[in-house]
């Protein structure tokens, strides 16, 4: 049973990672990041069930809280950038460089 959950988790993580790497739309990249976080959460919970203790569950809660905070800040940034530059493409926001 555990293996299935872990494979699913790895799959979700890989999908998220590829999304972050290849997509230009900031919102989509953002969603992919969330997907990677939740893939990790799934792995934590899986291991927690397998070992019969609560540590993994608790860490999953922490990850959710951090993710929620990140969503608040990240979405605010994305919306602001969109308002000023009329674009949500991560490649357009490349002013912070050498």
């Amino acid at each position: 049973m555990t293996t299935h959950y872990l494979v699913l988790s790895a799959l979700l993580f890989a999908i998220g990672g590829v999304g972050v790497l290849v997509r230009r739309n900031a919102i989509v990249v953002f969603m992919c990041v969330e997907l990677m976080l939740n893939a990790c959460n799934l792995a934590f919970v899986t291991f927690a069930r397998q070992h019969g203790n609560l540590e993994g569950q608790i860490i999953a809660f922490f990850v959710m809280i951090v993710a929620a905070a990140e969503v608040v800040v990240g979405l605010a940034i994305i919306v602001t950038i969109f308002r000023t530059r009329r674009s949500a493409s991560v490649d357009d926001a490349n002013l912070l460089k050498y």
Binding site: G17, V20, L21, V22, R24, V29, V90, D91, A93, N94, L95, L96, K97, Y98
Partner: protein
């Protein structure tokens, strides 16, 4: 006999003897901080402070006289200067016959020169600053001679060096004056280094810097240590007193205003070296080698100074050569041990009077001749400047040792003591006296006699009373001072509690054989000078002269020697150091900085600003870590 014991003192005038130092110091502070507001009355304040200091010193002197002879070494504790662990320096004043003699000379002659300066500097816009420096000098010099320990002496020593530097360079708009001040400062530093080293060795040997314990324990130290201390102190004395080989600065120091030359570079500061040697007598007496070196330095300088004096056309430089020479006599006497100390100090005091009188006389002449210093443009001034002529003449007679005038008593005393000690030294000193007779007569005849060789616009006139009165008082001192001090061994008896009583009191016999030989030589010198510069015409431009004349005129090639031995190699050394610094040290540091700067300039191109490329590098990094983990984990 050993010197008398030093007794703690409180109360009376001696208890407030620190006023002698504080008053002129206060004057200097007020004049320097007061700014232009004090321009109108500044010189009066300076004179008043110096006179007040003299009055205190005189009162202290009389209070000392009131005590028994073996009670005349009083220590006035002021405060703890450096209470730090094993170093415990208490600042105090030692009032004994030696220090009070100096204090009287410094404040007495100093006050007269202060008064003279009112007239001499009347047209100088910076007269207030001049008086501030003079006051500063008096304070520092008094600290030097009154301090009861080597640290206080050293502070005073540096203080007079500073005042000397400031006053030589007083007209610093003249490049020659600025250079002369710098030269005096640098040469004095060399001497000061010797003094500092001597004080360090004294401290490591005796564990204290106070005169009392050092001198009472001096006999317990090894002779080698005492010789080392003695030679180090001698280097200091040579620097301050312009003795060979550190003599080069004194002739250039004549760039300063003439009252400065009279006060600092003739009467007082340059005699500090003699004071140091006499004060440290207990150390030198345990080190015969050091004493011998002192006498050799003294004789060499007295001859060198006299020879330089014969060839100078600048009246002040001729007098400066004479100063060197006379201090050479004092050094010679100081190196002879207790028998010579009294003569050294007596000659120092007598010299303070007649040399100050002649320098101020020279200043009076310069004042009259539009600041001309070339004696070839003087001549025949006797008839227009009667008072200056007489006072200068008395000083001149005193220095050549005319019978019964000051120099006769003190200088012949030195020559005879030297003759008893070592015939070679004695005869060299006699020869020096003969040369003195020649060069001083040359100065006197070229200035006051012969035909008038004045510039067309020169209208010589006698100086104002404020300048002539100090001259008159000083010349009285230069006539009677020597007889007063030496006749009946008065000064030897007075000094004995401070410097120790020699086993046999030297009794000065007028007209002994040596004295007559000396007088004959002096007479030859005078007559030769009269024939050459009094009777026959003096050319307006100096003739080229023989090799020897050029040798003397160029200060015995002292400057050339210093330049070849120290200045040029020093410059090479600095150039080498600068090269090493620029290419070596800077090269390394700058190269490293350039390397880091260049590398980071290339590396920052990685920062593209594209978020996805960052994400890609994170991905590769993570992949690398995971891959490494697999490899390592499988080992």
């Amino acid at each position: 006999m050993e010197p008398a014991e030093i007794v703690q003192h409180s109360g009376g005038v001696i208890g407030v003897s620190w006023l002698t130092i504080v008053l002129p110091l206060l004057g200097a502070a007020i004049l320097l901080l007061g700014g232009r507001r004090s321009d109108r009355w500044g010189h009066f304040l300076g004179v008043a402070m110096s006179l007040a200091s003299f009055v205190v010193a005189a009162l202290v002197f009389f209070e000392l006289l009131g005590l028994g002879a073996d009670q005349r070494r009083r220590l006035v504790q002021l405060y703890e200067f450096l209470p730090a662990g094993t170093v415990d320096v208490k600042l105090g004043l030692l009032l004994d016959p030696l220090s009070i003699s100096f204090a009287l000379l410094i404040t007495g002659v100093g006050s007269l020169i202060h008064i003279y300066s009112i007239g001499y500097m009347a047209h100088d816009p910076d007269r207030r600053r001049f008086f501030a420096y003079l006051n500063l000098f008096v304070a520092a010099m008094l600290l030097l001679v009154l301090s009861d320990n080597y640290l206080g002496l050293y502070i005073g020593w540096e203080g007079v060096g500073l005042a000397s530097y400031l006053l030589i360079g007083f007209w610093q708009h003249k490049p020659s004056a600025a250079a002369a001040a710098k030269k005096a400062f640098v040469v004095n530093r060399v001497g000061d280094m010797g003094l500092a080293l001597g004080i360090f060795v004294i401290f490591t040997t005796f564990g204290t810097l106070s005169f009392g314990p050092i001198f009472s324990h001096a006999s317990q130290a090894s002779q080698g240590t005492l010789t080392l201390i003695g030679l180090a102190l001698l280097v200091g004395a040579c620097g301050k007193s312009a003795q060979l080989p550190l003599q080069s600065w004194l002739l250039d120091a004549m760039e300063g205003p003439t009252p400065v030359s009279a006060l600092i570079h003739a009467a007082t500061m340059v005699t500090a070296g003699v004071y140091l040697v006499v004060r440290s007598g207990a150390i030198f007496e345990g080190a015969p080698t050091a004493q011998l070196v002192v006498t050799i330095v003294g004789v060499a300088t007295l001859l060198a100074g006299a020879i330089i004096g014969t060839a100078k056309d600048d009246i002040k430089k001729a007098l400066a050569g004479s100063t060197m020479s006379q201090i050479g006599y004092m050094m010679l006497a100081a190196g002879l041990g207790p028998v010579g100390y009294a003569f050294a100090i007596a000659h120092l005091i007598a010299h303070g009077f007649f040399k100050a009188s002649m320098f101020l006389g020279a200043g009076s002449v310069m004042h009259a001749m539009n600041d001309e210093v070339d004696m070839r443009k003087y001549g025949g001034l006797a008839s227009v400047m009667k008072i200056t002529w007489i006072t200068f003449g008395l000083g001149y007679l005193a220095i050549i040792g005319f019978p019964l005038l000051s120099g006769y008593w003190t200088k012949d005393g030195i020559i005879e003591t030297a003759m008893e000690h070592n015939a070679i030294l004695g005869w060299l000193a006699v020869a020096g006296a003969g040369i003195t007779g020649f060069y001083m007569s040359r100065v006197f005849f070229m200035t006051f006699h012969g035909e008038r060789r004045w510039d067309k616009d020169a209208h010589p006139h006698e100086s104002p009373a404020v300048m002539t009165w100090p001259l008159i008082i000083l010349s009285i001192g230069s006539v009677f001072g020597g007889a007063f001090l030496i006749a009946g061994n008065r000064f030897m008896e007075f000094l004995a509690p401070a410097v120790g009583r020699p086993e046999e009191m030297p009794s000065f016999q007028p007209f002994s054989l040596t004295g007559l030989v000396t007088l004959a030589l002096v007479a030859v010198g005078v007559v030769y000078a009269w024939l050459k510069y009094g009777r026959s015409a003096v050319p307006a431009v100096a003739p080229r002269g023989s090799f020897l004349t050029v040798f003397a005129r160029r200060d015995l090639y002292g400057d050339a020697l210093n330049e070849a031995l120290f200045m040029r190699p020093g410059q090479w050394l600095t150039r080498l150091a600068v090269f090493f610094d620029n290419r070596g040290v800077d090269g390394l540091v700058n190269g490293l900085a350039a390397l880091i700067g260049g590398t980071s300039g290339r590396l920052r191109r990685v920062q593209t600003g594209f978020v996805r490329s960052y994400a890609l590098s994170i991905f590769f990094g993570a992949a690398l870590l995971v891959g490494a983990w697999f490899v390592v984990g499988n080992l």
